[in-house]
């Protein structure tokens, strides 16, 4: 009960600051919308070659996961600013649970992601995407899991490096292979064999496949199962890492 209350206090504070300075939220939001509007139409004539029928039912899931990954990766930057101003230290000197200090922030990130996901899905519908409600719910849930994992990892990275200058290149380095190997823009199945094999080792690819299967209403698909498993595994690992960082002395 105390834990929920403490997480809530941290969450409310974070949300208030986000609302006061929504630049990051808007920038994070704008990117997938631009992809949807400016890249989506290019897929329409090609979609039959991917073995799919609706370009947006194919494309929106990829954009969702991209949003979940990349939006959340930047969550840690605001933490560095707070750390520099002594906020983290001041919070750590209170009796509040260290896990609550992380969880409150993660809930903020998840809420932000949920709002962005709803906007994206709504826009997709307007552009012609078709998906069942259970498929949407399941797909969004997977997105939230993977987003939570990335946000927790980003927070952990932020408290470990304590420097935007170190963090920015690290995130860039991680982001490129993730974007290229997870089939967010184009399906990996149209690539050569070696590229497909390489992408098998990219956990996010399975999550993208899972969200796609779920949007397509294909609940029996292998992709959904593996996507779910990978999302859960990444979520659990990242939460563990994040909590360990907040607990650690000297963070």
């Amino acid at each position: 009960m105390t834990f929920v209350r403490e997480s809530w206090i941290v969450f409310r504070r974070q949300l208030r600051m986000n609302l006061r300075n929504p630049a990051w939220v808007i920038i994070g939001m704008l990117q997938p919308v631009l992809y949807l509007l400016l890249f989506g139409p290019l897929l329409e004539p090609l979609i039959s070659q991917f073995g799919a029928t609706n370009a947006y039912t194919f494309f929106v899931p990829g954009m969702l996961v991209q949003l979940g990954i990349f939006g959340a990766f930047f969550a840690g930057f605001s933490l560095i600013g707070e750390w520099r101003e002594g906020v983290i230290e001041a919070e750590r000197v209170t009796p509040a649970s260290r896990t609550a200090l992380l969880v409150g922030r993660l809930v903020r990130d998840e809420l932000q992601l949920l709002v962005q996901a709803l906007i994206l899905v709504g826009l997709g519908y307007l552009l012609g995407m078709r998906a069942s409600v259970p498929g949407l719910v399941l797909g969004t849930a997977l997105t939230l899991l993977v987003g939570g994992a990335c946000a927790a990892a980003s927070n952990a990275l932020a408290l470990t490096t304590k420097s935007e200058d170190v963090m920015a290149p690290v995130i860039n380095m991680v982001m490129m292979p993730v974007l290229l190997l997870s089939g967010i823009l184009l399906p990996m199945t149209i690539g050569p064999k070696w590229l497909q094999t390489a992408s098998d080792f990219m956990p996010f690819r399975h999550v993208v496949d899972g969200v796609r299967s779920s949007f397509a209403g294909d609940f029996a698909a292998n992709g959904l199962l593996w996507g779910g498993i990978w999302a859960l595994v990444m979520f659990a690992l990242a939460i563990w890492w994040g909590t360990a960082t907040f607990r650690r002395e000297n963070a």
């Binding site: 206090i9 941290v10 208030r16 002594g86 230290e89 919070e91 000197v93 209170t94 009796p95 002395e249």
Partner: protein, 365 residues
């Protein structure tokens, strides 16, 4: 209130490929009684903040133990946290949030209700001369206001023990003097025990009942400012002779009243200088003695020692030098001394004040 034995903190640092272990705090014993105001003094890099972080449960001691506010910092860290306030060098309020919101959230993390925190917070704002700033963002506040806001945050759960880490670093002289008033008020009005670190000697001198000096991770002295000055350093007696031929004779006589201490009597032109414990008692006799011997003086000056003299006697280095070494030694985040530092600390080793009237005799405690 604080009872620490053998606190040690080692860090591993890496220089190129070589790993080396640095003992930032090297066996600190510390006792602070309830209601005391203790100044924890030492050059940057001496281990002040590291010690403080161990006492405030933010850093687990490598070895040794500490009981703070009645509880062990390692095994009962949450109980310690409930009872202590800590104002770090960085502060604690986010510059782009509203001051009042930050105070309320901070207090609520202690389990207090919103109503209680708001009442207390607004009351503390008045006491700390922050009235009308409840909805202001710290980034628009002056340095002094921001520090007072940090102290309000540290006080919101009514701690019995308050830790202040370099509370006035970077403030202008007026803001410092004002903050000193408020820090005194913590004990006088609220009965809070105060443990503050500083590398400004005048600050420790003005605020503390007792001064604990740390150097290179070890406590080198712990006593009242008065005792440290009298016993450790002694007063500086500066005799100016009208005839330079008499300096050696005079130096011998000055040596005789230094009570066998290593007085380091020096001769420079017509000046003879040396350190004498309780010079006020010993010098009249010396003057009569000199008079009888026909050694005439042009002037006599007695300077009360500064805490820097104490530091110099204890460690063989002036606090300033120690700071320079610390800074070039490890390049830590030590802030450069500000103009306020130089103006306020009255720290002028080797350059005695122009006249006896300048000696801070009356200003001492």
């Amino acid at each position: 209130m604080i009872h620490a034995r053998g606190l040690v903190q080692t860090f591993t640092t890496r220089q190129g490929r070589e790993k080396s272990e640095v003992r930032a705090v090297d066996g600190v014993d510390l006792d602070v009684a309830e209601g005391e105001v203790v100044g924890f003094v030492g050059p940057n890099g001496a281990g002040k903040t590291t010690t403080l972080r161990m006492l405030t449960t933010l850093l687990r001691p490598t070895s040794g133990s500490a009981r703070v506010a009645g509880y062990d910092v390692v095994t009962h860290s949450v109980d310690v946290r409930r009872r202590i306030g800590y104002v770090s060098q960085a502060g604690g309020a986010f510059s782009q949030a509203r001051a009042g919101d930050e105070v309320v959230d901070h207090g609520m993390l202690y389990g207090l209700s919103r109503k209680v925190v708001e009442e207390r917070g607004k009351h503390l704002f008045e006491q700390m001369q922050l009235d009308g700033l409840w909805t202001r963002m710290p980034k628009t506040m002056s340095g002094g206001q921001k520090r007072r806001l940090d102290i309000v945050m540290g006080l919101i759960h009514e701690p019995t023990l308050m830790f202040l880490d370099e509370p006035t670093t970077g403030l202008d002289p007026q803001a410092r003097a004002n903050l000193w008033e408020h820090i005194r008020g913590l004990r006088d009005r609220l009965g809070t025990t105060v443990f503050l670190t500083t590398h400004y000697l005048d600050e420790a001198d003005t605020l503390s009942d007792r001064i604990v000096i740390i150097d290179q991770g070890r406590i080198v002295a712990s006593d009242t400012s008065e005792n440290l000055k009298t016993q450790v350093a002694g007063d500086l007696v500066d005799l100016e002779l009208s005839d330079a031929a008499h300096v050696h004779d005079t130096a011998r006589r000055l040596e005789a009243i230094t009570e066998g201490r290593d007085s380091q009597v020096t001769i420079e032109g017509t000046h003879v200088r040396g350190r004498v414990p309780r010079a006020g008692r010993a010098v009249p006799g010396l003057l009569r003695d000199l008079d009888r011997a026909g050694l005439t003086l042009d002037s006599v000056e007695i300077h009360r020692p500064t805490l820097d003299d104490v530091f110099l006697t204890l460690t063989g280095r002036s606090l300033r030098d120690a700071e320079t070494t610390a800074r070039t030694g490890d390049g830590t985040d030590a802030p450069l001394p500000t103009a306020a530092d130089a103006a306020g600390s009255g720290l002028t080793p080797g350059v005695p004040p122009a006249s006896a009237a300048d000696a801070p005799q009356g200003a001492l405690r």
